[in-house]
């Protein structure tokens, strides 16, 4: 094998030991399948170098403090839907009850957001949950669900305002049948 070692082609060498990147400008994308590792490396290094002077040894918080912090964060997340509600409400009021693309989009969002939020309740609080604050997080979750329901109610209010809820007699008129006469008459007049 050593005898064969001498004629290693140049391209193999180039492949194994690529030349250093010129790293001219980052705006030019790399061709497909080509990862300029060296560039990425250099970026990481640069980042490290830039961070290192700032990083100072921090005092690790105690688990209790962590729990309180997490709880605070969780409450923030839970109350987030209600905070945007006045704005939504105002926009819905202003957009009117006619069926237009804007109001339809708003209604769609008004339903999509709370429902998606409800579905993703557990994921939303996953990162704040720990073994010790489970009970408290449950309260937060319930509050979150209530808030989402309130947001949903706004959506329903809007849909009702647009007349899309089948709440009136006229919505069921098509299912009411005409009364048939038992006798018939023909008029030859």
């Amino acid at each position: 094998m050593s005898t064969d070692a001498a004629p290693i082609p140049q391209w193999v060498t180039d492949l194994n030991f690529p030349p250093a990147s010129k790293s001219k400008s980052g705006s030019i994308p790399d061709p497909l399948g080509y990862h300029s590792q060296s560039g990425a490396l250099s970026k990481k290094q640069a980042a490290k170098e830039s961070k290192e002077p700032k990083s100072q040894p921090r005092k690790q918080p105690t688990p209790e403090e962590m729990d309180t912090l997490k709880l605070k964060k969780a409450w923030e997340v839970a109350l987030a839907p209600i905070k945007s509600l006045p704005m939504t409400f105002f926009m819905m009021y202003m957009s009117g009850n006619s069926l237009q693309i804007f109001s339809i989009m708003m209604v769609y969002m008004a339903f999509k957001n709370p429902i998606m939020g409800l579905v993703a309740t557990n994921q939303a609080f996953e990162r704040f949950e720990s073994d010790t604050n489970k009970a408290k997080i449950l309260q937060v979750k319930l509050a979150y669900i209530v808030m989402q329901l309130v947001a949903l109610a706004v959506g329903i209010w809007k849909v009702n305002g647009m007349g899309l809820l089948p709440t009136t007699r006229s919505d069921w008129l098509a299912w009411e049948a005409q009364r048939d006469p038992l006798e018939h008459a023909v008029s030859a007049l």
Binding site: P31, L173, S187
Partner: protein
Amino acid sequence: MHLPVQALSLSVLLALPASVRAVFQDEVGHIDYHHELLGVPQRETTFFHRPRATEKASLLYTLSDLGVLGAVNPSNGAIVWRQLLAGNGTEGGGFLRAAEDQTWLAGAYGSSVSSWDALTGRNVWSLYLDGVIKDLEVMEITERGGKDVLALHQEQSATVARRIHGTEGHVIWEHKEVNNDIPLQVSTSLEKVFVVTLHGSLLSYNLKVIVLDILTGKKLDEIPLATKDGVQKPEDVMFVGAHSAAPIVAWTDNGMTKLNVNVLGLKSKQEFPLPPDTVEVEIHAPHTVQSSPHFLVHSRTKSGSKADVFHIDLKSNAITKAYELPLLQGGNAFSTSSSGSNVYFTRVTDDEVIVTSSTSHGILGRWPVKAEARKSGAIHGVSEVIKKSGDSYAVRTVVVTDSDDWTQIVNGEHAWTRLEGLSGAVAATWVEIPESEDLARTLEAEAHSNPWSAYVHRVNRHINDLQYLPSYLQSIPARLLSSITGSEGGQSTDKVARDSFGFNKLVVLATKRGKLYGLDAGNHGKIVWSKNANETPSEKNWDVRAIHADNAKGFVTVRGSEGQFIIVKSDTGRTVEAMPSTLFPPVDSAIVVDSDAGPWLLPIERDGKLADVQVGWAPRQTVVTRTSENEIQGFGYMKKDELATPVPIWSFSPLAGQHIVNIATRPQHDPIASIGRVLGDRTVKYKYLNLNTVVVAAVNSETSVLSTYLLDTVSGQVLASSSYEGVDPDKEISCTISENWFLCTYYGQYELRDSQTQNLKGYQVVISDLYESELANDRGPLGDAANFSSLDPVDLPTGPALPSVVSKTFILSGPITSLAVTQTRQGIAIRQLLAYMPESHSIIGIPRMLLEPRRPVGRDPTAAELEEGLSRYAPAIELDPRMTVTHSRDVLGIHNILVAPAVLESTCLVFAFGIDIFGTRVTPSLAFDLLDKGFNKVTLVATVVALFVGVLGLGPMVRKKQINLRWHAPM
């Protein structure tokens, strides 16, 4: 919240004219068709005449048997102008005379005499006199130089002759002869006026000639003429010459063997023998005063016609026979034409046109009639002979043929034909174009066999149909092309076939002259077939009482009042069965009833009587008939042995003193899309939908009170009634009913309730909506019951379930008649009230939204009401020309409008008949399911093609650019 209301009201207001704009200009002649008709011209009142003495061209004038006075351009047969002298349903008659070298025509009809500008058809003057007009003549020579009109009226036991100023229309003198004579005709000479009357009693009349002074109208002489029982009735005197060119009176004896001729002013008469077997004699004399005094006697025998020409010697007053024209077989029409003193007689036979001069029997011209003009026999005609250079002559003859057409023949060539037989229609019905019988039969066979064999049969049929695939594929490019360019390639063919939109339908039309026509409504009302309904033509008008189309079999049944009926195939007009009159009892009408043996047409005998029928044919429904002038009865059939006898169940008469003027029944096809009306606040007002209802309008002539009654036709119960004061009982009162509303229109004077001094007067329409309850969201006393019986008393103190009625009255800007309501396939599109406006000669479509009884009174509508489309009540409705469905056409004398739904929900087919024939399509809710003609398919296809080409061309370019972007790494 103020803004949306305003915006909404604005949008509603803007939408209103859009919904009433009935016809766009580019649709005229495309979706509608119009047969502009005069009626069949009468022999005495048809002539060529020059409207201006200075112009050379003459027009063809006629006063038809329907009382339409019209001028026709002889070069193309187009109508120049028309005037309706009488209302509908007249029996012909009337007089029309032209004054030579004058610009006016004099016409008389009924009791009135009028004068019309010959070129424009404008009325110069009209006189409405007492009595009945008996004759009208133009006095050719007057002392002032102009021409005057002589009119002869028959009043109650008096004969009145009047001389009327020709251009000013005032009576110059009047001579009244008080006796019981029957005035016949009036004639003039240079210094005298002759009034010919019949003196005596029925079956033995004598002629009497009264001689009047032409200047003063004073009676100069009275000459009795003995007729020796020759004259039994006024019609027996066949001819009285109008002026000095034909100063004769002529009549035949009873056996039609001799012709008696008297020269006016003389006491003697001359006799001339007639050919044997003569059935009818006509005398043709020149119309102008300067013509030679020659006349032609046309004797019609059973098989042919013969003519004798006579000359009158004006000095010796002797009549001599000059020559005779031989007896020729077939239909013959003679006519006279004069130029200067020359008189020409034109004879039109089945295959020739022959012109002779009155002086000698030599034939001046003879033209064989070309085949296309030879369809039917000529009955009478008028002609115009022009002498060209040398001895050659040209002749144009306009003849009325026995198929009621009016055809012009120029030198034997067919020039034009006016289909005047279509006029005077009395009944019509829509007919579906029959599908091919084979297909119908196979489909029926498949429906009745077991599923597997039906399936095999169907597959076989479809495989068999494959043989038509190549021709179908071949037709695709042409169809695509015609569809894109908008031309109607497929419709120009003569084949009558259904179309996918349901616009192609047949109309079977019966006229009062006893003719039946099949018209293709999808192809501009073209005549598909025509035929005589009676084998023997009768003088009486055909009184059609019922016309019924059986679309399953493709038959149309027409029943006359004398019991006669005819059943024809709707697509070919072939007679399936015909029954002459008097074999069956006279009928009032006929109606389709259901029985155990299937539906059949039940005849209603005179006075609403019903005959016994066999048990199997007993109608299941209650049959409602009008048993007398003022009584309506409902009959049920009671089974007794083999026969079922009609038993009266209920009867209805209006209040004492009232007589029934109109009865409106529901249309056959009246689908209800929604059983309630959704109000602005989303509550529902439920419609009162009772199929067994009719509206009866009865008026009291003394108190001028009109009452309308809504009757339940099963129980006879009056469901709603109302009275209107100050209604003119002599003007037309008509009603119509549809869905849950009915309306009546009348002329009346209405006193305002809030200010007694104010009167409203005019044509009014009152519309009433019927609801199950006054309250919204309430289905009335019957609640949610799935069915109801009119005979069951409802367990309520109020008795039967009565509708809640909301009414409003509107004042229209003109009279409307012949009401009809549009019908669509499923009843989703809003309804329109179609009506004929007799004063503006057009058909109007009034949207139901405009005639809405729930419009708020005295206040602006609330937001909820606006959402419903209700606008503030305004008592006056302007019959806007934009609402007319006839556009600017002049549609004359419509007395019935038929509607039929198309396959497209938006569209309703309309067919109006009377004197004219008019048909169109209306879209009450606009054509929401049909692309209009303005839709540019070329642009659409071009856009798609351009986009496709663009994508094809740009795709590789973009791909190349993207790849280049990847590879051209910047160095």
